[in-house]
């Protein structure tokens, strides 16, 4: 039987991405986990990490092909299959969470994306997500219009906005100084975070740090 070293496949896959940073599979998985948690706990949709998702999907395909060559009796096969299933859950759950937010806040998100394009900054949604969001928004709009057709002249649009003041738990990855706690008063308090410290804080105060990856939500 061919000796297929899946272990080494799992541990030392080097992937070159555009920035020429070499990441091993465990590191990618960890990144994915972090982004998944961020997405799960943040009230608004975050910049997409389709790059990681695609890398992982490629890896899953490779791993599954390798697994097929292993005999069914091999004890290791079950363990690796389980690992592959776990990764797939991670990706699915991440994308599902994003879709859920896109559907709920479709109108607001589309507007934000438009202004991001105008400012020339990077869009948060991937191309496919954007298409989905547009189709979804359109379909809801048409449905509402057909309900209101009986009485022209009444226009009613209700925007659903994410609540950015939700409290989130976060863990800091670096020392950060001077986070402004905006509690609606004129006096703003400043706090400093040490590396590894965990706090409960309003999402609005830290959203930039979440997006830049200096802190992650737990």
């Amino acid at each position: 039987m061919d000796e297929i070293d899946i272990e080494s496949a799992i541990n030392d896959v080097d992937i070159d991405n555009d920035e020429e940073v070499q990441l091993s599979l465990p590191e990618i998985i960890q990144l994915m986990e972090e982004n998944w948690l961020n997405e799960k706990f943040s009230p608004e949709v975050l910049p997409n990490r389709m790059d990681i998702v695609e890398l992982l999907l490629d890896q899953i395909t490779t791993l599954e092909n390798n697994l097929k060559k292993l005999s069914n009796a091999d004890f290791k096969k079950g363990l690796y299959q389980m690992e592959v299933d776990r990764i797939r859950f991670l990706i699915s759950s991440y994308l599902r969470k994003r879709l859920e937010k896109i559907e709920t806040y479709s109108t607001v998100i589309l507007e934000q994306e438009k202004s991001r394009v105008q400012q020339g900054s990077e869009t948060y949604l991937s191309q496919n997500e954007l298409e989905f969001a547009q189709e979804y928004d359109q379909s809801i709009r048409e449905h509402f219009e057909s309900i209101m057709r009986f009485c022209p002249g009444i226009t009613e649009t209700q925007l659903i906005n994410p609540n950015l003041h939700t409290m989130v738990f976060l863990k800091s990855k670096e020392d950060i100084e001077g986070i402004v706690i905006d509690d609606g008063n004129d006096e703003n308090d400043l706090i400093d975070l040490n590396k590894g410290s965990q706090v409960l804080i309003s999402y609005k105060s830290v959203n930039n740090f979440v997006k830049s990856g200096n802190v992650h939500l737990i």
């Binding site: 999907l57 859950f89 990706i91 496919n128 298409e131 809801i140 449905h143």
Partner: protein, 198 residues
């Protein structure tokens, strides 16, 4: 009282969360008529208030009526839209559970607009799923974090032959029990062919 019927629509929603009651055509129609009447009334009152411009707007005797009328319209519209929006939400959850084909008993509870919306949603959702990665990814699977590779399932109906991905063919009979890879039977569980025995 204004908006009472619209309120009944909302009550109906909250009574049956997660299931779709029949589309309440009559009540919706009644609410629409109420909105229309109020809207017409408001227009007339508005015109009168505007004509008597010698009296300042808020001092006009009709002003409170106008205010109440317009907020009644707003409230009605809100309730009407909320009723429809929440039905769509439930419908969306069903797309995730049952796939693109709805069971007949649910279909009979929908309005024609809702069926149309479902087809549209189903199409864009399917398009999105095939666009992920190279081969697409079925987001309706892997709904819960995997705990074990194999699970025990009980077959609830005579399903017939079922081929596993490694080529083994199983005969699924009612009340038979199987010990299968989780990934293989997840779809049959959501379809209601299998019951997961914990």
């Amino acid at each position: 009282m204004f908006a009472e019927k619209a309120c009944n629509l909302i009550k109906e929603l909250s009574r049956c969360e997660e299931v779709l009651p029949p589309y309440h055509t009559e009540l919706v129609k009644e609410v629409c008529t109420e909105i229309k009447q109020l809207h017409e009334q408001n227009k007339e009152d508005g015109a009168i208030v505007a004509n008597e411009s010698s009296i300042a707007g808020y001092a006009n005797a009709l002003y409170p009526t106008l205010r109440i009328g317009s907020s009644a319209v707003k409230r009605n519209v809100r309730c009407l839209l909320a009723y429809h929006y929440n039905r769509l939400k439930t419908l969306r959850t069903m797309r995730w559970e049952f796939g693109s084909i709805l069971p007949q008993d649910i279909k009979t509870n929908l309005s024609s607009d809702e069926i149309e919306w479902f087809t549209k949603y189903s199409r864009s959702f399917a398009k999105y799923m095939t666009s992920i990665g190279e081969n697409g990814l079925n987001l309706c699977l892997d709904l819960r974090p995997p705990k074990s590779l194999y699970i025990e399932v009980k077959c609830l109906m005579d399903y017939g032959k079922f081929e596993l991905s490694d080529g083994t063919i199983l005969l699924l009979k009612k009340d038979s029990r199987h010990y299968l890879p989780r990934s293989e039977c997840e779809e049959l569980i959501t379809q209601g062919v299998f019951q997961h025995i914990v």
